[in-house]
Symmetry: C2
Subunit: 213 residues, 2 copies
């Protein structure tokens, strides 16, 4: 990294070194791609548990940890999910080694006495505030979804996140009983190492997204 | 990792190896902590740009990249921000080396012709759908906030995310002109290496958050 240069506000300067090696930065971000077609090979529950056991440490507001995962493996479940996806995403769900419905638990507050003992009283307060709960659940599970995508890559897996779906339909199909709300779907499977030659889409620069006061 | 064991549905098994070394997993997730007090030392714009240049590669729906950052440095800006924070968070904003207001741009669609040329027509469609835009903006910027927190740690920085704030107040104070919406605030600064002795809060296990179909 030390020989790269970055343009910030028209000024060239050597990019500061990261605390992780280039191959890690490549694996997690720079060379990773959203995957549409996976290599053959299963993804085990043990692999998914190892990913979760990594990303569960990422911070959430008051340690609420509202992220929930529906692991879709069987042919019958894949077809039920595919029926709720946008047309262009259906075949991907049917073909992926495993598909995760990333969801949030609007009943996350039940765990607060364990997860945040200093805020245990909030459990009863939130019981009477379903709208606040739903907003907290969505916000924090989406941040955790970001950790999850990085974590899948840290486990050497490829991730194909998709948002083209009927969220209410997915919730009715799979979460009628548990109060989970679907946020996105991620196909997961094996991929080749980093360095695919496919060109990357443009990104906004730091100068385009950041402003200082 | 290969000698660790994880309990999944009551069954012990050796945890699969990650594709990153233990020190990386520790730095990004396992030993990282939400930071309330930082070591002395500035955080430069160059460091923040390097973090963004890493995390900008993380996937968003249609490459929308709605994350925006307000970098709060001056005493006057810190005080304006602190006035919008919950009481317990004010001193932290005033004391942090630098504070980021993580926001989303509800006008993200203006960039679609560059970021997603195949979906450029969506720019005009979304122009007339402000509610859809706001939802897309929030969802995808929150996922990017997850990448950002990992990216700050990958740059060796400590992150102290906070959600106890008056979001509408922050938006009125800082984003009245640009249509950004605040999502959370992150204090950023230098920290000691991994391995702080402070005990971690509980986490939910994979068996508690995941179910299979």
């Amino acid at each position: 990294m030390t020989t790269d240069t970055t343009v910030l506000d028209g000024l060239d300067f050597p990019a500061p070194a990261l605390a992780v090696a280039d191959d890690v930065a490549d694996l997690l971000f720079r060379e990773a791609r959203t995957v549409a077609e996976f290599l053959p090979g299963e993804v085990s529950d043990e692999q998914l548990a190892a990913v979760y056991d990594l990303v569960k440490w990422g911070p959430t507001a008051m340690n609420t940890l509202p992220l929930r995962l529906l692991v879709v493996r069987t042919r019958e479940a894949r077809e039920r999910l595919a029926a709720q996806m946008s047309e262009g995403n259906r075949e991907r769900v049917l073909a992926a080694p495993v598909t995760l419905v990333v969801a949030t638990d609007t009943g996350f507050h039940q765990h607060l006495p364990t997860l945040a003992p200093h805020a245990a009283a909030l459990k009863d307060v939130l019981e009477g505030q379903p709208e606040t709960r739903e907003q907290m659940a969505r916000t924090n599970a989406l941040i955790q979804a970001g950790y999850l995508i990085v974590g899948l890559r840290a486990a050497g897996l490829g991730a194909g996140p998709m948002a083209g779906m009927d969220f209410a339909g997915v919730d009715a199909e799979f979460f009628a009983d548990n109060g989970w709300k679907s946020l996105l779907v991620i196909n997961v499977g094996n991929v080749e190492g980093t360095g695919t030659p496919r060109p990357r889409a443009e990104r906004l620069s730091y100068g385009q997204v950041a402003t200082s006061v």
